[in-house]
Structures are given as C-alpha cells and as structure tokens.
C-alpha cells in the first residue's frame, strides 16, 4: 500500500527521537515539522494546519494531555500519542481527551507507519463518504442501514447491545476506543464504572464473529486501555 504524502507535526522534545522521526518519515515521503515544546507545538499547529499530529506525553513545558485538550478545541485530524512506560495511565486519559491512537516508546518505525496509514484512511473516509452504509472487514460485513451483520455471507444474530458495541467499534475502526468511551456510547454515561459488562459482551461478540476468539482478527484487545476494530489484517 503506497502512502500518500502527509503534512505531519511532531511535538517531541528528545533530540534523538526528533532525528529518527525526521529521517524515517521524510524517507517515506511525508513532510515533518518538529516542535520541541508544547507551546511551540500549539503555535506550529495553527500555522501549518497539519494532517496528523504526533504528541509526546512527556514535554518539558506543559503536560502532553493539556496539549491534546487545547488541540482538540479546533483540530479535527488524527492525533497519535507517544508515551513512555511511566505514563501508562496518561495514555487512557489522552484517548479519552480525543487522541486517536498511541505508541509506547520504544517503538519501531514500522509500527508508526502502520498507525499513520490508519489515520490516513480516516482522513480519506471523513473527506470522502460522510455516512457509510456498509462496512466490510475481511469476511465480515456490517450493513448499517439494514442492521444486519454477515460472516462469510451468513447472517450472524446479535443482541441489540452486541450490535451497538460492534457498530460503535466499527465506525471508529482503526482507532483505539477506551473502556470508558465504549461504555458511555453503548450503555450510557451511568455505566462507565462497570467495565465487566464490556468484558462479557465482548466475549459473546467475539464468539459470534471471530473464527478463533482467543486470536481475534477484528476485535483486538488493547491491554489495559480498551479495544480496537482492526480494518487491516494484524501484522
């Protein structure tokens, strides 16, 4: 899959990582702007209007979470978070604030490029079709208009909640959804503290649409964070 060139902004203070990002991303044809502080990042974001923003959570001048919150006041494009191990809990907070995806340091360039491809498809989907009626992923077809799910052309019977859970994930496919986000969207704001609902329904859903529920192809687990609907085969 060849990548269309993207306008990227990386808000990252570490010089070695800046160098590695610049070399790798430019080699793949993207244009990268680098900001070393949160304040500079916010300024460059307004000036450059990038397609995707990469934010490191550990910034010298302000919290990466604050940067995301400020960006989300106006920025609609994908935000990818970089976090070190010590910021594990901030990762979920960042996703809840509106970040789309995350990478844990250290990461390989392959992983970053994969995330960028997902983001790119989101951009394309948003710009192209405003309301899709049908989502297809591998052998799975979700007909949003007809409220119908098929696996290998065979109808799969889902309960209303299972259906809602599946469609919520599928509409944001590629993007990590935190437990809270899913609970709020599927069960309502009153149930965000009952994550075991999610586990039980997710297991039922996997048994219905996955070939091998312990090695899922579509409904991927992001341990400690949430779930993601894979729109490209794992790997």
């Amino acid at each position: 899959m060849s990548d269309a060139p993207l306008q990227l902004l990386a808000i990252e203070d570490d010089a070695q990582i800046q160098r590695f990002l610049a070399a790798a991303l430019e080699a793949h044809g993207h244009t990268l702007t680098i900001a070393a502080t949160g304040a500079e990042g916010l300024r460059r974001a307004t000036l450059r209007q990038p397609d995707v923003i990469i934010v490191d959570l550990g910034l010298p001048d302000m919290s990466g979470l604050d940067v995301i919150a400020r960006l989300r006041e106006w920025f609609r494009g994908p935000i990818i978070v970089l976090s070190a191990r010590s910021h594990e809990n901030d990762k979920i907070a960042a996703l809840d604030l509106g970040a789309d995806d995350y990478l844990t340091k250290p990461f390989g360039i392959g992983e970053l490029l994969a995330r960028l491809r997902v983001a790119q498809r989101h951009l394309a989907a948003r710009d192209g079709a405003p309301q899709e009626a049908r989502i297809t992923a591998g052998a799975l077809t979700i007909d949003l208009g007809a409220h119908r799910v098929q696996r290998d052309g065979v109808d799969v019977h889902l309960t209303p909640i299972e259906y809602k859970l599946l469609t919520t994930l599928a509409r944001h496919r590629g993007k990590v959804m935190t437990h809270r986000q899913l609970l709020r969207e599927v069960w309502g704001a009153a149930h965000v503290e009952s994550p075991h609902y999610l586990r039980i329904y997710m297991r039922a859903l996997r048994h219905k649409i996955e070939n091998e529920p312990a090695r899922p192809q579509h409904l991927l687990t992001e341990i400690g964070v949430g779930y993601r609907f894979a729109d490209e085969p794992a790997g």
Partner: protein
C-alpha cells in the same frame, strides 16, 4: 569474719565497678556541698564567693535560688551574678517562691548555685524535696553548688536531736551527701557564731531571740561543730581509702564485714536503722535491713505497718539493702538470712515488754544470741518512755464468727448424745476421751474461741450429766478437776496450733500466688514476638488482680512517649481516658529518668496514676501507667512488689524481642546486600552482551568505506535492532521487578476475560511467534478472573516468552480451566524441559536454565511471574512433562463476579 590479708590484689569486678562509676560521674555534673555545723556560719557567703571566683575564671555560673535571710553582705555578693527568677507556686491562695528546676535545665549553665539542699519544696513542685531537684540537675550534667547543715544529714539527724532537743524534719539522704564530689566545711568557732547572732547578722533581730534560746546554746554548738568536723573527717578518710584501693597500697581490703539490722513495727526500729548505718559506715561495710513478717504480725494495725514500711524506706535511703521475709520464727529467719549473706554483725532492739513474760517465752534477743554462732549481736536500747510495740490486733472481728461457735456447740451436743447412748457400756474416763475428741475437733476446725466454748461446754455437760452427783455441778471427786483442766488446756493448745497452721498456709498461698502469677506471665511473654503485644499481656495480667486502668506507653523513634488515647479497664473495655498532657509529661519524665513517678513516689506524688518505667538491662523500653480505682491498693507493699516484678519481667521480654528484631534486621540487610551483588554482576553481564553487539555493528557501519555489500549492511542493521529490543526487554523486566518488589503491590483488580488477555499477549508476541504453532484452549464458559489487567497480561507474556525462548521448536499450548475455587492456566512447550531437580528453583531471582547461557533475560521473567501470582493470592509451579517439555502452571483464586 577475718579479713583476708594475703589477697592484696584488687578484685577485678570491684575495679570494673569503680571504672563504671567514674565514667558515670564524668557524664554527671559535680556536686559541691558547703557544709556547716549550724545556721549562720557563713555557708551561703562562702558558696557565693566560690561562685564569683568560678565566674571570674570564665565558667558559666547561674544562681538558681539563694535564701538571703536579710543578710546584706550576702546580698552584695549576688551583684554581677546571673540569678534565675524563682518559680511562683500558688498554694491555698498564697504565692510561694521556689527554685525553678525546669528553667535551670533549659538554661543549662555549667554551674547552678542552689541554697539549702535539705529544703522541702512547696506543694506543686515536681519533687517533694530540693535534693531531688539537684540530683536531676546533676543527671543533666550540670555542676551544682549547695549548702547543708549537719543536722540535716539523715544519719546524724537523731544524734542532733538528742544533743539539741530540737527535732529537724528536713533531712537529706546520706547517699546524696556521700555522693558529693566535694564537701567544703565552713567552720566558725561557737563564740564567734554567738557574737554574730547577737549582732543580728544571722537572723533578723526579732527572730533571733527565740532561735538563740532553743538552739544556739554554746554546748549545742560545740557538739554540732564536733559532729560536722567528724563527718568531714570521715569523708576525707573515705577518699584516702579509695585512693589506697586505686593504687593497691594497703592490705586492708574491705574486711568482709556485713551488718544486718532487724526491724519491727515499733518506733525503736528507726533508731536501730540509724545505729546500723553508723556502724556500717564505721566498718565500711555493706548493710541490710530486714523485716520478718510472722503470721502474728500479718494482723498488725495499719498504722504500725505503715511505720514499719517507713522504717524500711529510711534504711533504703540510708544505703541499706532491704528485704521483707516471712516465716514462723523471727529469730530463725534472721539467722538464716545472716548466714546466707555472710553477715558478721546483727543489730537488734532491746526487748521492751515486761520481764515476767520472758520466763515463759524466750525473747528475740535470747533466741538470736543462742543460735548466732560466730556472728556478733548488738543490742540497742529504746529511749525511756518510748511507746511499746503495738500489740497485734485481736483476731479480726468477723460478723460470721457465730456459725463457728454454733457448730462447735453442736459438736459438743452430738458428743453428749453419743455419751448418753454409750454411758451404760463405757467407763466415765472413756467418756472424757470422747469429749476430748470433740474439743480437739472443734479446735482444729473452728479456731480458738469456739474450741474454748467446746471445752467449757464439755466440762459443764460432763460434770452435769455423768459425774456424780448427776444433774448437779457439784463434784464429789476432786480428781475430775484435773480432767477439766486437761480438757481446757488441750483445746487451747490445739486451737493455737491449728490457727498458726492456717496462717502459715495463708502466707504460703500468697507467695504461691505471686510465684504462679510470675510464672504465668513469663510463659505468655515467651510466646509473643511483638512489643505492643507484650505490653497488652502485661496490662491484662495486672488487671486480673487489680481494679484499675492501665496502659503501656511506648516511645516513638525520637524517644517521645506516644499517647495511646486509651486506658484499658479491668472489665476489658477500652474507654477513652484523657491522658492529660500533664500525665504524659510525668510518664515521659519516668521514661527519661528510668524511675517510677506519680502516685506514692517521690516525683509528682499528687498524680492519681503511678508510672512505672519498663527498665531492661540496656535501656528503658516504655512506661506502664496504672490508675487504680482505690489508690490504697498500691500502698500494700506485696502488691507493689508483685507489680514491679511483673513490669521488670515484661521489660526484659521486650528487650529480648527488640534485640531479636535488630539481629533479624541485620540478617536481612546481609541478605539484600548479597542479592544486590548478584544483581550487579548479572546486570553487567546481561547488559554488556547486547551492548557489545550494538556497538560492534554500529561502529562497523560507521567505519565502512563502501566495502560492505547490501546484505552485509542489512545483517548488521538487523543485529542492532534485535539487540536493542533485547536490551529493552531487560530494562523492562528489571523495572517491573523493582516496582513489584518495592513494598506491597497495588493491585487494580478488574473482572477480566482470560481469552482476551491471551489474545493480547499473542498479538504482542506475534513476531517471535511467527511460524510457531500455538494451541489455545480456553473454555467458552470460563468465569471472569478478578485480577489486575496489566499484571495478568505481563504474567502470561512472560510465561509464553519463556516457552518461546527455552523451546525453539514445537507447539506452545495454553490451556485454562475452572476449578472449584480457582482458575488455573497452564503453558506447555515441547523443548528440552527443565533441568531435573531444578523445577522449583526457576522462580528464584537470577536463575537461568543454564549458567551463562546464550539466551539471556536476567532470569527475572519467572520471578516476576511468581511475584504477580502471589500478589493475587494464587500459586505457581513448574514441572517437566512426561512426554518432554516444560509445563508452567499458575492458579488464581476464583471469586464471585458482580451481578
């Protein structure tokens, strides 16, 4: 006893004790006493002059308290000296000035000048006596200058009273006087003193006339001066002796003299004690004061008992070792004690009872003299007109005595009936025997009074019914008079013997109770390993025998006692007892000084609780605070002795626990030191290996001048990436382990679906798993697991990664099953398996399958697994499968999921 003159070398123990004393003295302040024969000889003047001289020499001198008595020369000497303001105590509306001990302790100068060592403090001060204040100053390392007159020295007090006829109540214990580092005699010839007195230089003129007449007679003054000179000379003599001891000059090693004085409840005893002290001092001998409690003395009236205790206390303050013995015979106990302690001299009082009694019963003196062997016996006379020893009170009147009399009468009646029945068959003399049996029974069972009643009734009834003429008290045969007398005497003797036996039994029971209580406590104490728990054990033991509130106060790291907020009452209920700041203050004082304080002690006696320090050998562990419902309970010496024994035993147990704890801590430290070393060597190996590869590959690429082909370059780059990832894993493991083993693991438990975790792990490991077969068997209905998501994932990740690493080929199987109260997960591989015998060791830190194996990982991965499983309350085990390969299995407790 004969002094052993051949042994000229100092006893090493004695030398050691002296070295200890001297070391202690260096830390303590020095006490200098200005000693005079009478008021007005110029002690205060001499003291202030010495203070000024010290100050001129650059010492930090502060005047704590000085009685001026309106003497202008003395007042002039205060000029230029720093004077502490007196502490004002209010007593019944009057403000009283008093030496301010706390201010002096806070000011902490080198020298404090305090007049009148013998002064009695006003109520409200910390100590009842000023000499106690001064002892505290000395303990705090402050030097003290003070003054004292000869009549205030405890052991000379009674002699002075004899000479002058004036009894002085304010006294200083001899040990304080003797412990003074320096005694300076301030001497003034009697004529000069009288002259000063007449000039009004000693007291204000209106006061002096009375004082003159009562005290300052020339004869008195000469005698007092002689006493003062002699006391000073004794001190000089003692100093000389000490010097000789130090330098082993003389052969006069302490002749093993030992003086024993035997005190009783009579007022004479006080004189005995003072006499013993003088004798002991003259002989430089240790001395004992003992009191023997016989069954008859148990019944002493309270006042006499108190006086006896007072006498023992006096003896203690004069330096005696005191003992409280109990036994049947005073003489026997005294001699036994004397022999046991090698006493060479016994002092007893002259008997005061009327002479005729001696004919019937030997006096104590007689008995002691008869059996004393080679011990000298000194007999001290009582003063003329001294009140006689108090009589033991009659048998305590008990309202329930009459049943004993009734039973006694009933016994006699029964005997009479029996006699009437047997009369036709028996001789009268044998009937007498039956009556005698009845009297003996009554004597043995019901005590003296009822036995006398039985005897009288028996005699009367026998006379009335059986002696001719019958039914008349007239006696025809005078022989029967003998029968009556024998019957009465037998009753009395037997009842006395029985009563004595009962009292002995009571004494023995009381002793046995103490012994068994101590034994029970020590057994319980031995079982506990926790100081707080030991305190609770002590408290509970005390409260079984005392109606009181008690608590054990323990200090924090800085040695400040902590307010536990609660006192425990006897009923076991823990009520909030407001330990007022004041009481906590007393407890703290008791802790700091390792002395008891509060009720009934010398320190702050007005408190309603008593504070006993838990003194162990090396330190004070804490303080027991005890507040009895009825303060009188603590005044019984046996009770107090028992409490103190319990406290001491607990203190020793607590110290044992503390020492064991510090020994254990030291062990742990050594262990963790070892671990750190292993860790360091392990780190240096495991980190250097990948670093060496990375540096090697990177420097090769950097130095390349175009000789490497594309494949070569790519290989080097792949090496760098692989080795970096390996390093990353090492760091991650190390961080995890540090986090998990530092303090308790904080679990964020959630309800998790196990297959989801397995899926996440397989996804994370998809690169190393590429091309490997993984068989997952997780039942669809497996209950949710209540665990920390990140930790559970890490656990499975490590297990699977371990399987990949140690079994390069073959399938990896992950199997989960639900059991009755657990959920177990097994990870199997088809590799070479674990080295036989090492199955359990794989979880040890830094354990590796093979020593220095090529594959690395610190051997930390499985250790982390173990920590995680144990944090969840589960179990983990490793074994080899029969068909080859290793099997690691863990189980987590199964909980009821929420609705």
């Amino acid at each position: 006893m004969v002094a052993n003159t051949s042994d000229a070398r100092p006893d090493p123990d004695e030398l050691l004790a002296r070295v200890r004393r001297e070391t202690a003295q260096q830390a303590r302040g020095r006490l200098k006493i200005f000693f005079g024969a009478a008021p007005g000889v110029g002690k205060t003047y001499a003291m202030l002059e010495a203070a000024r001289k010290h100050k001129a020499d650059g010492a930090d001198v502060v005047v704590g308290y000085v009685e001026l008595h309106g003497r202008p020369e003395t007042e002039a000497l205060l000029q230029g000296l720093e004077v502490l303001p007196p502490q004002n105590l209010e007593h019944r509306g009057i403000m009283l000035g008093e030496f301010d001990l706390d201010a002096a302790l806070v000011r902490h100068p080198q020298v404090v000048v305090v007049d009148e060592l013998a002064h009695t403090n006003h109520p409200g001060a910390r100590h009842p006596k000023r000499w106690m204040d001064i002892v505290e100053l000395l303990d705090a390392g402050i030097d003290v200058f003070t003054t004292v007159n000869v009549q205030h020295v405890e052991s000379l007090n009674d002699i002075v009273a004899q000479i002058t006829g004036v009894v002085v109540r304010e006294t200083v214990p001899d040990r304080v006087f003797d412990a003074a580092d320096e005694v300076e005699l301030v001497d003034l010839p009697p004529d000069d003193l009288l002259q000063r007195l007449r000039e009004g230089k000693v007291y204000a003129p209106d006061k002096s006339r009375h004082a003159l007449e009562a005290f300052f007679r020339k004869g008195n003054l000469i005698a007092l001066r002689q006493l003062a000179l002699r006391a000073t000379a004794d001190r000089v003599d003692a100093a000389l002796r000490e010097y000789r001891d130090d330098h082993a000059i003389s052969q006069t090693w302490a002749a093993s003299e030992r003086v024993l004085v035997c005190v009783g409840p009579d007022p004479l005893s006080e004189r005995l004690v003072r006499a013993a002290r003088r004798l002991a001092t003259a002989l430089h001998a240790p001395w004992h004061a003992i009191y023997v409690e016989t069954p008859s003395l148990v019944r002493l009236p309270r006042a006499a008992r108190d006086r006896m205790l007072q006498t023992l206390k006096l003896a203690e303050s004069l330096g005696a070792e005191t003992a409280n013995l109990s036994g049947e015979s005073v003489a026997h106990e005294v001699l036994a004690f004397a022999q046991q302690r090698n006493a060479s001299k016994i002092i007893v009082g002259k008997p005061t009872r009327p002479r005729w009694q001696d004919r019937f019963r030997p006096t104590l003196v007689d008995e002691i003299v008869r059996f004393s062997g080679n011990i000298d016996v000194y007999v001290i006379s009582g003063e003329a007109g001294a009140e006689p020893a108090p009589k033991p009170s009659r048998l305590p009147k008990r309202s329930s005595r009459w049943p004993a009399y009734a039973k006694s009468a009933g016994t006699t009646a029964a005997i009479t009936v029996l006699c009437l029945l047997l009369n036709p068959y028996l001789e009268r003399t044998n009937l007498v025997m039956l009556y005698l049996l009845g009297t003996v029974l009554a004597a043995a069972r019901f005590g003296r009074g009822p036995s006398v009643l039985a005897a009288v009734l028996s005699v009367g009834l026998f006379d009335l019914l059986f002696v001719p003429p019958q039914y008349s008290f007239a006696v025809s045969d005078t022989q029967y008079v003998i029968t009556f007398i024998v019957m009465l005497a037998t009753g009395l003797i037997i009842s006395n013997l029985a009563a004595r036996g009962r009292r002995q039994a009571n004494v023995a029971r009381a002793r046995e109770r103490r012994a068994s209580e101590l034994y029970a406590l020590s057994r319980e104490l031995a079982r506990s390993r926790d100081i707080g728990e030991l305190g609770t054990i002590l408290r509970n033991h005390l409260l079984t025998g005392l109606d009181a509130e008690a608590v054990v106060l323990l200090p924090d790291a800085e040695g400040r006692l902590q307010d536990p907020g609660r006192f425990c009452t006897r009923s076991g209920s823990e009520a909030r007892y407001p330990v007022p700041g004041n009481d906590l203050g007393i407890a703290q004082w008791s802790y700091d000084h390792r002395q008891k304080a509060g009720h009934g002690t010398d320190t702050l006696a007005s408190a309603d609780a008593i504070f006993l320090p838990l003194n162990a050998l090396q330190r004070c562990i804490g303080v027991l605070a005890l507040r009895p419902k009825d303060a009188g309970q603590l005044d019984v010496p046996e009770q107090m002795h028992l409490i103190e024994s319990l406290v001491n035993q607990t203190a020793i147990a607590m110290e044992r626990v503390q020492l064991a704890q510090s020994a254990h801590d030291a062990d742990v430290q050594v262990e963790s030191e070892k671990l750190r070393n292993v860790l360091l060597s392990s780190i240096s190996h495991d980190f250097r290996t990948p670093l060496a590869s990375i540096i090697g590959a990177a420097s090769t690429l950097n130095a390349d001048t175009g000789k490497l082909d594309g494949t070569g370059r790519r290989n080097l780059i792949a090496t760098i990436e692989a080795e970096s990832r390996r390093l990353h894993r090492l760091v991650g493991n190390l961080l995890d382990l540090t986090r998990l083993t530092q303090g308790p693991v904080q679990l964020k438990r959630q309800w998790l679906a196990l297959e989801e975790i397995v899926g996440g792990v397989l996804q994370r490991l998809h690169e190393p798993l590429a091309g490997r077969e993984v068989a997952v068997d997780v039942p669809r209905d497996l209950p949710l697991v209540h665990a920390d998501e990140m930790l559970l994932e890490q656990l499975l990740f490590n297990l699977v990664e371990n399987a990949i690493k140690h079994a390069p080929h073959g399938a990896i199987e992950i199997h989960a099953e639900a059991m009755r109260d657990a959920i177990s997960v097994t990870v199997r591989d088809h590799g070479p398996g674990l080295p036989p015998g090492e199955e359990a060791r794989v979880f040890e830190k830094f354990h590796r399958g093979q020593v220095e194996a090529a594959q690395s990982g610190f051997g930390l991965g499985l250790t982390i697994c173990q920590v995680i499983v144990e944090a969840h309350g589960g179990r983990i085990s490793a074994r080899n499968r029969a068909d080859g390969g290793a099997e690691l299995r863990f189980s987590l407790p199964r909980d009821e999921p929420p609705p």
